[in-house]
Amino acid sequence: MEILYILPVIILGIGGISLMILSGIKNIKIKTYAYFTMGFLALSASASLLNLGKLYSYKLYPSIFHNMFIADSLSSYLVLLLISGGIFTMLVGKHYFERRDYFRGEFFALLLFAIFGMSMLVHSNELITAFISLEVASLSLYVMTGFNRANNRRIEAAFKYMVLGAFAGSFFLLGALLIYAQSGTTILGNIGIYLSSHQTGNLSLAELGGMAVVMLVFFKVSAFPFQSWTLDVYEGAPLPVAGFMAATFKIAIFGFLLRVIVVDFDTIFYNWHKLFYWVTILTIIYGSFLATIQKSIKRMLAASSIVHTGYMLIAISSIQQVGVKATTSVIFYLVAYFLSAIGSFGLLSYITSDERLRITYDDFKGFAKSHPYMAAVMSVFMFSLAGIPGTMGFIGKFYIFSSAIEAHNYILALIGILATFISIYYYFKLIAVMYFYDEPTMAQSAKLQGLSPKVIAFVALLLLWGGLGSNILFIPGVDFLINLAQTSYDSLLLPFR
């Protein structure tokens, strides 16, 4: 039953197309579209739950696709995360969508297409396929970013994102070409076999090509020096979209990067080590600097997402020495960051959806007095992002740093710790502003109706559970998540055993 492995993605594709068709019909309310989208996402999620935790790796329909698609534990786990990203975005953003008149049916179709593209990316086993999937996802996100046509800033953000993205994308194609010129294949795995069997020969074309491919990855995860778009795009995008982007796109890209490195470029990774090393350091330093100087919460979260990319790059820099640990720590951290980002952006969007806009730190003065519940939940997200023990963000950092130490990358671990320390400043500043000032400038009684606040609170509970949970209490806890990450790693190497 091979179809079971790809079923979630198929459902997403069908959902996207049918919503696209529906959006041509007038007189359908936003709510209806939202229910349709939720239906498809829920179906897709339950389909992907079927394979969760199993260890497997199959090439999908090799006779038709010629090994271009793969389905393994890694892809199924990440697809589940991507779909839940979509579900959370829908649930959390419900409030926001209902109060903005510019959201229309196409938006939801695009959301499904974006998830579809990202899921294809984690399933793809070939460079050109990966590029196409990536572009499907990116194009949807470009449009979603600029969805409010009335707002010039949105248009600017979308345009900036698209032009730079397309430019970085061309490097990917060049890289794929160079790799093909050297090894005669663009199928992942085969490249790796070629590289490891020609280690003594001249591999400069493949190395250069690999670097060009990695460049697009760096661009998409906003690593230094390709981070310049991040702040403007995040600021320009509608809040639920920004949250969706921050939470899910990293998962897909890092999933692809892990597959590329672990399966193919592991043998020549020592050549890249220096590159990754410096990119990591600069990403963290520059990201921390950016986050520290921001006045707007949204921009601070965007800048701090650069730092979180940096944390994950720490583990990837250690991937050759401690493959299992580095890979699992990246996967674990992706989940932790996913939840924190979805939660914090979601809560921001909820807050801004029916009040006057709260944008800067100062706007949050006295927030805890008027909205104690939301302030507490926001604090949980900040704790997790800052990596305070008791939250999932802490366990994530625990893995990242211990894998760096195990690989003897002490400098990276130290820089990571310093960045954590700086991050305390900009995350705790928000908590301090919320709790320690008495200026309820926008005093308005808390409106906690509807589904959104409950979902946000649920995300916060998940984060706490991911930091404290233990299997002794009969609910899958931290160990369960670690095992999932471990299985995902094992499945990457399964075809080569």
Binding site: S470, I472, I482
Partner: protein
Amino acid sequence: MDSGILTYIIFTPMVMAFVLMISKADAKMTRNIAFLTGIVIFALSMKVFLDFQPVSYMQFIEYHPWIESYGISYYVGIDGFSLVILVLIAVLVPSGYLLLWEGRTKGYWISMLLIESGMLGALLSLDLMLFYFFWETMVLPVFLIIGMFGHAEKVFSTLKFTIYTISGSLFMFLAILYLGIAFHNEFDAWSFQLIDLAKITILSPTEKFWLFWAFMIAFMVKIPLFPLHGWLLETYKNAPTGGVFLLSSFMAKLGIYGVIRFVMPLFPSLYKEYSHIFVWLGLFGLIYFGIAALMQDNIKKMFAYSSASHLGFITVGIFMLNEYAFLGALFLIIAHAMATGGLFLLVGKIYYNLRTFSISRLGGLAKRAPLLALFFAVFLFSIVGLPGTNGFVAEFMIILGSFKRSIGIGIVSATTVLVAASFMLWMFQRALLQDTKNDVSKMVDLDAKEVLGLLPIAAIIIIMGVYPDLFTTKIEPTIYYYLHDILKVGM
């Protein structure tokens, strides 16, 4: 011996805090429940104290795997040393609550409960990751309590405090990870338990050097030991009474506790090698903070410095490497926590009535509030180390230990203690006994409830001063074990 009593002790305040958080109880109700929780913890701790066998090994051990993939476990236990601090917390916390009775909000009491849980957890953990977890979570409610209920530049001081302490402990976090990985490399299994990590043999001297200092920095910030005391002044000055009470009486002591519990068994040779550095740092701190305290007019600042000065002396005691000094340091931990805690509570009471911290405006207080002055005097005498109080026994033993190590150090510590003692008496005379024209008519003397809270503290100060053996029997085996079996110094 899996009775689970330590788990109850650690988590009762936390669970109560969460229950109160979601319940609709008002501030008064919250306070009453917080006080009752304190009493329950006191009762449970007394049971532990009575059942505790005077032997050197860990008792009341509880072990549950937590994150099995990396050998992180919920592993708690108690020995003579942690017993001392447990009893200290159990006695002082409810007493403190009685003095903090008035005019507080719900968030204040919930934070106090959370801090209590954090402290007890850090005190009883035997797994380093578990310890780190409590150690960090303990800071968060302190952050809230200073920021929400503090005075003056409270936001600045709370951020400074948090950044100082968390940055210190982040280095410790790296060191813990490093030790865990070293254990994994040597034994091919994951564990973060103290007894396991102490078995590691593959570390090179350079590695040990860095790890040792990473741990020490975290604890030195908390104590605070010169030169890492940057957060001290503003935090103490701007924190609310309850926050200062907890910081000075317990958290600083937990810094000392961390040194003995973790640094000593993990790096015994370095502990001995660098002991002279810490002895001198401690003595220097004793004088430096003593002089700084002399110059203050703000009574809270003055006690902040005098407290740091005494913690310097405790550090001297634990690094002196002999039984007298060590026992003296433990005694001083109790003596100082009781006395300084009591003093800060009284200062809070004075501020509540008179709205001032200035010493020069307090003259003649003794006439107006004789009971308050009496307790003030008892606590102060204990800090100064007057015979008949436990402060005397403690300081005497440390000085005795210093002489045992070398005559020079002995003379230096004896004189510095005397100098440091003098300023306290001077302050007492200025603040309470002077007959000035200050308007202290708003001062209300202690009521029955407050006397009830302070009486046990004062009683213990005097009983310990007159009959110290009552307390030493339970802890002596532990001290012997630490010095003889872990540090391997001759007794």
